[in-house]
Symmetry: C2
Subunit: 401 residues, 2 copies
């Protein structure tokens, strides 16, 4: 057991082996959720002009005691700049408008009384220089670096792209992923009734859902029989058309676990096989002749999902160019079992306590085949090898489903 790579070492070997996927240019409306692969600089000062922050009037404070003004014009949002020539006058303004030339103060409409063409300030209201003016360039200056490659494009990033005139954006291309289920015991979800000895295919659906949730939407599902020649032939086809292969099952040490053999025959370089962890020990990972990323996950559902969230998804995110952030860390709310030689992954449900801690309650699966309790969990915590159970209060990284 001791010669198996640790979880950390396995992660490092995987990370060091990965390619960087290609980029593509997409219209802004198709960019949400994608991984940015270009720099974005400020197109112009932001705001691009001294900007009115309230509906009201713009005035000149030359004569600080003046409280009555004659309306000399209107400056609406979107209009080119008006000019106020005389400090006895004012210009009506709306939020978002340019501050008229000659004005240095905005008085909100609530602080004014209008009578015909005259506007009076409400008693007691004291106008101040630059009041309710959002100055040109105060948010950012033309040429400022606003976004760097490696960020996921969420709402704030989309606002920045649109505001800076980026109508097409360079993002990571979404790789084609094939999920391959192995195992002659697998029945289709539609099959009725189940024959003796059969269980339904479910891992591939779960893996596809995890992938789609992270933006890997180009996913095809297929299955191969427990047969070396058929498996090799199908994998050859998929290696020719996909950037990522994810197999489930067929990687233990049994007679029929010929996935490693098939991959070897196809020139997929093994980077690792088996990791000092539970569940998920049999995981296999390699790189194909054209840089294809190949994960062969254990066939047990919990094992497969643990390997997916701990290795597969972070690996594909790295290959898309996403800047990685440290794993979320949570506090065990109850003791959890560990192993002296193996890193253990334990399903947990997370809630946020009054101290602002993320408290993780273990929901151990009785076996690595049992996933019926997983819907009540948020992910798994990673517990280092230990001779003792991890006590309540242990801080551990969380990998969400």
């Amino acid at each position: 057991m001791s010669e198996l790579p640790s979880v950390t070492e396995a992660e490092q070997r995987i990370r060091a082996s990965l390619p960087l996927f290609a980029t593509e240019r997409v219209p802004l409306d198709a960019a949400a959720g994608r991984v940015l692969r270009q720099h974005v600089l400020a197109e112009c000062d932001q705001p691009p002009f001294d900007r009115v922050m309230m509906d009201g009037i713009a005035i000149t404070l030359a004569d600080a005691a003046r409280r009555d003004f004659t309306v000399a014009g209107r400056q609406m949002a979107g209009m080119a700049g008006q000019v106020l020539a005389d400090s006895a006058g004012c210009i009506e303004v709306t939020t978002g408008a340019m501050v008229p030339v000659g004005c240095d103060c905005v008085v909100p409409v609530e602080q004014t009384v209008r009578e015909g063409d005259h506007v009076r300030l409400v008693d007691g209201w004291v106008p101040a220089a630059r009041q309710f003016i959002h100055p040109r360039g105060s948010d950012c200056r033309q040429g400022d670096r606003l976004l760097a490659p490696g960020v996921r494009l969420r709402a704030p990033e989309l606002a920045v792209l649109a505001a800076n005139g980026v109508a097409e954006v360079e993002v990571a291309a979404v790789p084609k992923v094939a999920i391959i289920a192995t195992g002659d015991e697998l029945a289709e979800v539609e099959q009725q009734p189940l024959a003796d000895g059969q269980i339904r295919r479910s891992n591939d659906r779960a893996l596809a859902a995890a992938l789609r949730d992270r933006g890997f939407v180009d996913v095809q599902l297929t299955r191969v029989p427990d047969d070396l020649a058929a498996t090799t032939a199908r994998l050859a086809e998929l290696l020719a058309t996909c950037q990522v292969l994810v197999l489930s099952g067929g990687v233990s040490v049994g007679q029929r676990d010929f996935v490693p053999e098939a991959l070897r025959a196809l020139g997929v370089d093994k980077v690792l096989h088996r990791i000092a962890q539970r569940p998920g020990k049999p995981m296999w990972f390699g790189i194909g002749p054209r840089g294809q990323v190949v994960f062969a996950l254990p066939g047990n559902p919990v094992s497969a999902l643990v390997c997916a969230v701990r290795y597969l998804l972070p690996a594909l995110e790295q290959a898309m160019g996403l800047t990685s952030r440290p794993a979320e860390r949570v506090v065990l709310a109850a003791p959890a079992g560990t192993s002296p030689a193996l890193t253990c992954f334990v399903p947990v449900r997370v809630h946020h306590d009054d101290a602002g801690r993320a408290a993780a309650t273990p929901v151990p699966a009785p076996t690595s085949g049992d996933f019926s309790a997983l819907p009540h969990t948020d992910g798994v915590v990673e517990l280092a090898p230990s001779d003792h159970a991890a006590p309540a209060g242990t801080v551990a990284p969380l990998y969400r489903w």
Copy 2:
């Protein structure tokens, strides 16, 4: 100011006004990320048979001292059950296979030595009853409730659906959402160059990204000029074809903020207008004649996004039937400004400290128009009205972008 509803009251009024969106049946392969709207019961015992957990041999422990066995057959995964008649024999088994009738112990292949048709147990290996057998029904029993309406279908839920033969699943229909930008100052993202007084449309792209991220993928963008008749006409069309309208801009108290007037004319019942909060005070919310959900958000980008994550997204999730969970709570890593009368929303960046706390560093926006710093943040914390700044260590709810 004091008569404005609080954030909590606004949330309650919104929640009490919402319809429940319709359901639809979708194939399992289209169900990832959707909100479940049916119960799912266990189709059969899980596992459906006593299941072999390791490749190896299955034996009968009748004669506990026996260490040599004659291979009497093979039981592969997916095969109907074999029978072992004689405790001097064994049956080769693979992971996932049925335990052959008459066997009560599985010995892993690593603990055996094979010579022709004979298998010997490795010296020192002590077989035990029921070893490496995953008993029928130990994960769940036929008819057990596995999933309830209101869960989001992630990887674990997809596994449960597939494993239980649910080939079509009843989920919340995804509502048609229209995002309507108002403001004559808005230029299209492609327009070159910007004219004086113009800024580019960006709120609608940001709102669309936030919606898509939560599964609201049927989003159309449109804009209306600052004109009551044109706005009313366009909103009438959208109310006829969409379940959700999200407007940005036009809801303050200025002359040109006629969105509330247009909505009133179209029979959209106002539930609230203005909330005791900063930013986002001018928000308007109402329900249309056919139960359409109408949010009119402020035009300032930060205000619009704050209102989206605090009200719009939770409201639409409720209307989809998603069971709500308490907001994530974080700990302020530095003081943050508050207001005596208004709830304040402050952008923060979250990192997980060594104590398992989510530490939130405030990244205040200089103005509610400034979103150039938001890409460096994870969301906003909600700070209750107070005469003093919120000190470091304050625990506050987090709303992620």
